[in-house]
């Protein structure tokens, strides 16, 4: 089996003293990460591996944790502007999540203006959800029209967190924010719901890249922000394999837990077993032995 490539890129200076990412360093990290992921010397040259000019891109962020623990605009807007200046048109890029309120509370300025990066939630006028549920195996959901109709390609720009029910929430679970009924899919450790949702055509056929925001990682008592168990890791994790990216995220959380003297997720009976289901569904690699991890610090 061919191994999946996952890049971990670290910078000790990306977060300010108050914990806010510095956009210039964010961009340097993401560019370096893409270079290592695609094997090119200039990140712009690697973008064609993921996107075609003219495509409409959705950057799905995670803002449930508001300003304290979310994908901040300092990260996502930086990424969006760069992609808009390189391979895609700026107004073909939507940074989005479930609600405008969550986005605003996280510091986003909502906009749907022609000619610029667009930022809005599924509850915006003109968005909303599809009318008929899409069924895949055990799930059935309405999808955000942003995911279903307004984009051709998707980046899951998710926050890496411990999750009391799923074990770990990262790039795949981020798409729970693309459906109308995520509350129905949290039992049984969110398994098999996370992979079965990802497997739907509206996600699997559009997903191109996972970028895990591990700048500040909640390694215990997540997904809510609990500063006692949050660590400034100052990392991004990038992969075109959505399962491998999350599996590496899981390892980072386990390493942090071990370092802090906490039991493993397995010992707490909340391993993210959905990753192994995802592997069985051929969505990617969950076994670390099959993942090539490339780490670099800038």
């Amino acid at each position: 089996m061919e191994s999946s490539r996952v890049v971990i890129i670290t910078s000790r200076n990306v977060l300010s003293a108050s914990g806010i990412p510095e956009p210039k360093i964010v961009l340097r990290m993401l560019r370096k990460g893409l270079e290592l992921l695609t094997g090119v010397s200039k990140a712009e040259d690697g973008l064609s591996a993921f996107f075609k000019p003219g495509e409409r891109l959705g950057i799905k962020v995670n803002t449930i944790g508001r300003r304290a623990l979310s994908t901040l605009p300092e990260t996502s807007v930086t990424l969006g502007l760069w992609l808009g200046q390189t391979i895609l048109r700026e107004d073909n890029i939507i940074i989005w999540d479930r609600t405008n309120e969550e986005l605003k509370d996280t510091g986003y300025k909502l906009t749907d203006a022609r000619g610029s990066l667009r930022v809005f939630g599924t509850d915006s006028r003109g968005s909303g959800y599809t009318e008929e549920p899409l069924v895949n195996r055990s799930i059935g959901s309405l999808f955000s029209r942003i995911q279903a109709e307004m984009i051709d390609a998707s980046i899951s720009l998710a926050i890496l967190k411990d999750h009391g029910l799923a074990g770990v929430t990262a790039g795949m679970k981020n798409y729970f924010g693309a459906i109308h009924n995520p509350n129905k899919y949290h039992d049984h450790h969110c398994n098999p719901y996370i992979p079965e949702l990802f497997e739907t055509s509206l996600i699997r056929e559009k997903h191109r890249l996972t970028i895990l925001d591990a700048l500040k990682v909640q390694y215990h008592r997540g997904p809510s922000f609990n500063p006692k168990w949050a660590e400034n890791c100052q990392k991004f994790i990038l992969s075109s394999d959505p399962v491998a990216a999350d599996a590496v995220g899981w390892k980072i959380i386990e390493d942090l837990r071990a370092r802090k003297g906490l039991p493993s997720l397995k010992e707490e009976n909340r391993e993210p077993v959905y990753l192994f289901t995802a592997e069985r569904l051929d969505l990617g690699q969950a076994t670390l032995n099959n993942i090539k991890i490339v780490e670099e610090e800038i």
Partner: protein, 373 residues
């Protein structure tokens, strides 16, 4: 909105609910759309360390961190306190005949002021009202209708009954409870249409303020509850027994879905269980399924299947076995279990009391259980 502008269905404006509402009376719009969700502290939960909570309302016992919602989608942990977001936030209301709930032994022919909020603590793949039950409250249009206003409106429209129905009243428990208390003060009765997925303590408290509960028993095996309902059978059976032990009137509905829960032997076992555990006198309605929501690949239930299952339940000794969603069928009507004569004739939701005198069969004097006045 002008009073002449009638809302024939829910404020969600969804077509399917319009169909479901077609037996009801049109109702004037009551209020402007609600701007915000409610923030009323929930009953029945425990505070845990690190701002987590554990909900004790239903058998799911959702344990949630800050800003997370329960399976129902309408209760949220906000900084370690648990809130209902739908208190007084009605997404669907109408005046329906009580037979539509269905209650056949509870004030026949009465008008029931019927209402619902968004949300449900189950996830039935065949849900007939999924556009409200499987939604979060912010995904539907709500109006503000506080408990006092519900009772006032019921009075205004000459409804002797308020029905908590359409979605799953358990998830708007606090609102239902307070409305029931308010309605009782005005002499209005309260009925609950539920799947019975509720814990004993909240059910015990609810029983004190309502007059009747209809339970949707979805099947008589756990596999069905696992695969098509996403819940457990046993708590529902426990709720049925708990209600039957109380003074609250009980009726049971069993939606028959072809090939999924129409096994005759299972119906026989269920009928025996009902007779043994709660006695033969609580009505059971075998209702006809129509393809809906996530199950669209099955046909409507053949009438012959319903007839067969009804025969089995009667053979097992249940006294009042009805068929639902088959207008004009003789099994919509009530027959005296003693003399076999027609007591209440029904066609759809139209009722003619023919052979009932008080609570007795006019023909033979047999007591017919129910709430008749």
């Amino acid at each position: 909105m002008d009073r002449r502008d009638f809302l024939k269905c829910s404020v969600t404006g969804c077509g399917l609910l319009l169909t479901a509402e077609s037996g009801g009376r049109a109702l004037a719009a009551l209020a402007a759309p609600a701007a915000k969700l409610s923030r009323v502290e929930a009953k029945y939960y425990q505070k845990l360390p690190d701002r987590e909570i554990k909900c004790d309302l239903c058998p799911r016992f959702c344990q949630l961190g800050d800003k997370e919602r329960g399976f129902c989608g309408v209760r949220e942990n906000q900084d370690g306190k648990y809130y209902t977001l739908v208190y007084g936030k009605v997404c669907s209301y109408n005046i329906d005949p009580i037979e539509k709930k269905p209650f056949f032994h509870f004030l026949p022919g009465s008008a029931a002021f019927s209402l619902a909020t968004a949300g449900c603590n189950l996830s039935c793949k065949f849900c007939q009202n999924w556009q409200i039950s499987q939604m979060r409250p912010e995904q539907v249009q709500n109006i503000d209708l506080p408990p006092e206003a519900v009772a006032e409106q019921a009075n205004r429209y000459n409804c002797p009954v308020i029905a908590y129905t359409y979605s799953e009243p358990v998830i708007f428990y606090e609102y239902m409870y307070d409305t029931s208390v308010s309605a009782r003060r005005r002499g209005i009765k309260n009925v609950v249409v539920s799947a019975g997925y509720i814990n004993p303590e909240p059910l015990a408290d609810l029983i004190k303020v309502v007059e009747a509960i209809k339970i949707d028993l979805k099947a008589f095996n756990q596999d069905f509850y696992t695969n098509y309902v996403r819940g457990e059978l046993q708590p529902v059976l426990d709720a049925i027994k708990q209600i039957a032990r109380s003074k609250v009137w009980l009726e049971i509905v069993y939606l028959v879905i072809p090939t999924l829960n129409d096994n005759p032997e299972e119906i026989r076992m269920m009928s025996r269980w009902l007779k043994n555990e709660i006695g033969p006198d609580y009505p059971i309605h075998f209702s006809r399924f129509h393809p809906m929501y996530l199950i669209k690949n099955l046909p409507p239930t053949p009438v012959s299947t319903l007839e067969k299952l009804r025969d089995i339940a009667l053979e097992e000794g249940l006294h009042y076995v009805y068929m639902g969603n088959v207008p004009g069928h003789p099994a919509e009507s009530t027959y005296c279990p003693s003399c076999g004569k027609l007591i209440i004739e029904r066609y759809g939701y139209t009722v003619k009391k023919k052979g009932l005198s008080g609570n007795k069969c006019q023909h033979c004097g047999q007591t017919i259980p129910g709430v008749w006045s």
